[in-house]
Amino acid sequence: MSGAAAGDAGHDGSNQAAAHGTAEHLVKMANDIGDFFRAEPVREDAIAGIANHISRYWTKRMREKLAAHLKNGGGGLDELPHEAFRRINPQ
């Protein structure tokens, strides 16, 4: 069944696909989560909330990809989610 190469459809190819690199997408997701918890008056609660949310709703592979992005010097992650993510993946 292999061989359904991109382009067969004739109307799928777009620049949009290229704009959706997974790491950038995950960074955006993590920052959005961080934006909700940012209003927590206690910083530790905010960090714990972000970490808990990512642990409960992201796949292991998604967490691994974001970790790899950060390990490779990738940026874009806001401070609070960055700290939360550091606690999920201490290595």
């Binding site: 067969d8 459809a9 989560i33 909700f36 209003a39 409960r56 796949t59």
Partner: protein
Amino acid sequence: MLSIVEQDLGTPHRDSATLVTLSIDGREVTVPEGTSVMRAAALSDVKIPKLCATEQLEAFGSCRLCLVQIEGMKGLPASCTTPVAQGMKVTTQNKQLADIRRGVMELYISDHPLDCLTCPANGHCELQDMAGVVGLREVRYGYEGANHLTGEKDISNPYFTFDASKCIVCSRCVRACDEQQGTFALTIQGRGFDSTVAASQNVPFMDSECVSCGACVQACPTATLSEKSLIEKGQAEHSVITTCAYCGVGCSFRAEMQGEEVVRMVPDKNGHANHGHSCVKGRFAIGYATHSDRIVKPMIRAKISDPWREVSWEEAISHAAKELKRIQAKYGRDSIGGITSSRCTNEETYVVQKLVRAGFGNNNVDTCARVCHSPTGYGLKQTMGESAGTQNFDSVMKADVIFVIGANPTDGHPVFASQMKRRLRQGAKLIVADPRRIDLVRTPHIEAQYHLKLKPGTNVALINSIAHVVVTEGLVKEEFVRERCEVPSFEKWRTFIALPINSPEAMELVTGVPAASVRAAARLFATAGNGAIYYGLGVTEHSQGSTMVMGIANLAMATGNLGREGVGVNPLRGQNNVQGSCDMGSFPHEFPGYRHVSDDSVRHQFEADWGVPLLNEPGLRIPNMFEAALDGEFKGLYIEGEDIAQSDPNTQHVTAALTSMECIIVQDLFLNESAKFAHVFLPGCSFLEKDGTFTNAERRISRVRKVMQPKNGYGDWEITQLLSNAMGYPMHYAHPSEIMDEIARLTPTFTGVSFDRIDELGSIQWPCNDAHPDGTPTMHVGEFVRGKGKFLVTEYVPTHEKVNARYPLILTTGRILSQYNVGAQTRRTENNQWHSEDRVEIHPHDAEERGIAEGDWVGIASRAGDTVLRARVTERVQPGVVYTTFHFPESGANVITTDNSDWATNCPEYKVTAVQATRVAQPSEWQKRFREFSHTQESLLKDADVFVAK
């Protein structure tokens, strides 16, 4: 014409704890106070002749057939309008009454066509019945005098006719339109002999305000208003009660049948959600089930550029399983997944998620609730402890103030909207928060006290400013909060919400809603008595969808509006089984009953029952599946009943992801947009061919009953079972009831649910268990499911989607009454006569600025893509906002929407897209490619003999 089997008791039931005993024709009868003499008689098997009375409507007292004699009472009162009284002695039959009734009938019949043998109501015509009952033997006046026998027949409506020659002007249709539907489209025009029923200003029904709910047709005692299907096919010989497969109201219907053919769908007067009412979709739009586009044979192909090849079920299932296993062997266990749908029954959804978790060995299962109400599940679970609405629909009848936020009930949930309008006509107050002037804002005999016309994307700013007023003006129900909620969480929230940044004055700049209106609305909601909040996708489909749901829960808790009738947080679910599909564990992170996969005790329970180890890590959500597909990691997908290529945002992104997969299996009725990218097509069956259950927006589990054999050969649950067995994970259910038994065994909120129990009670609202053996109409009574209610801080965070000079308008999307979701069903019915294309609504100011006139083609461009729609210039939308529906794939509404999504659930932000609108002369490039692609895909099907037989 009423149902062929139901007995009509003449006037509505009355609720009263006080019982009244009277004597009717010597029989002692005890009924609730307020009951009519007519109904009391009917309840004791005494039939009083009637024509203008039916139990769906309040008594009218016009036909004079139901006169009775009551001891001590002057004259001959109408039994329909006379309430019972203690010790009353009623005589329903004597010579005087018989003479009067015969005289009345003589007059009616003197002006009625005597074509009974060829009349569609023959045998079930109430006029005919009454002529027999009163013993009418002659008409002394003859038939030659002035009459209405040449009255015109209005056949303009695609589903029913109005034959004026048969009308007896009993007003049942007019009253049904007023009382049941609340549209007030019909009237009696003229006086005396000239009295006739008129639609709107005496125009054809199709040109009138009639919404084709069918209430008038059902109420008609003659064949004046008749279903065209009844005229064409004749009357049914049996009927089966089942549940509608359209919106989340979940109306109960009696499918009236001739063998395996549906004659008509009649709303079930005993239906707990709809109480005998219906809308144009559930009542009439079922033709899709036998539409010539429907595919009933399995097909496969190697590439999506290949023609489809019809194969046996054995080959299709074997091929699909082999492919999925091949992909897993090559790319890993997590490279495949499944998507189920709110159009599936609970049992079908349950077996899909079981197949994925136990058969595929991962948790990559999701459902279309991802793109609609996933924030509801998240937000309500966090604050109150259960991912569901708090009330039943009937609760609205005890509301004093109704707050509708981001919902359009008259279009999206029309039958419940009729009930809500009934309460509003009784005097309940109404607050509407919506960027657009929905019908409810001003409709006959109803006008919202406040229409908070906010800018799209600013819900949280608005709810915070309302809560700010409640907190800072001392309107918090302190006792409720102290007893029922986590006080520390409340204090934290109170401190936050009282900040000046949350004041209506500060937020006016954000929301565009005048601060004075916000303050007034907040005061009304907090002080008017029972406050009930109803919301829809205008709340959830935002980047802060979950935050807004929490904000709503905060407001309800702070004002003490939970835990009793007349109040509550009420999500109006979009599709028929959104609630159920979520309940059944179709989200990747949780098992049935909303229990996280990382919960060892829960997981071990499922492992023991299912006999396989299960993963403790969440799987991929639908948008994450797309990302993984584009990364080359996700290659196989089983989709049952969902059309992600049309319904999900940023179409070009979705189709790019679909094209990158190696095996897509689509199980559906039609070659939908997603199926055009598929390699295996497994034909599914319509709700008429299903056995199972749906769970509506009130957590009400109702039976879906098979009224005909599956035209494709298998029930959908059987197909999933076949696939599972072929994948090597055995399933051996013999009937969907066995699936429900397993659900009950493994889900604490369902332990008391079974098909037998539903049959016994009619329907059940979960939780249904030892603590609530008959179900739970109102949740959180006395205590929240999580114990104490939890307030959460809900800071307003603007969406990433910004207007600028290039994209100066905000596009928001919604739905319309006659069409449903992606339109796969309704587009294949006569409902297209009301709405044959998606249009873009634009304010006259914005239109004039761009030289756009009504009906012009308008190019809508966003950062994600562009499409072309025809313009509807209207003040319904505010300046700066444009609006469209998404029922037609060629419209490309989701080509424009972006992949911004709710922070907590990734529910797409359909409601806010920055766009530009320009007048154009031709379709967009995407539309041209779409047409070419669709044409190609349809041509690949043209040699296959796979369509349903007519």
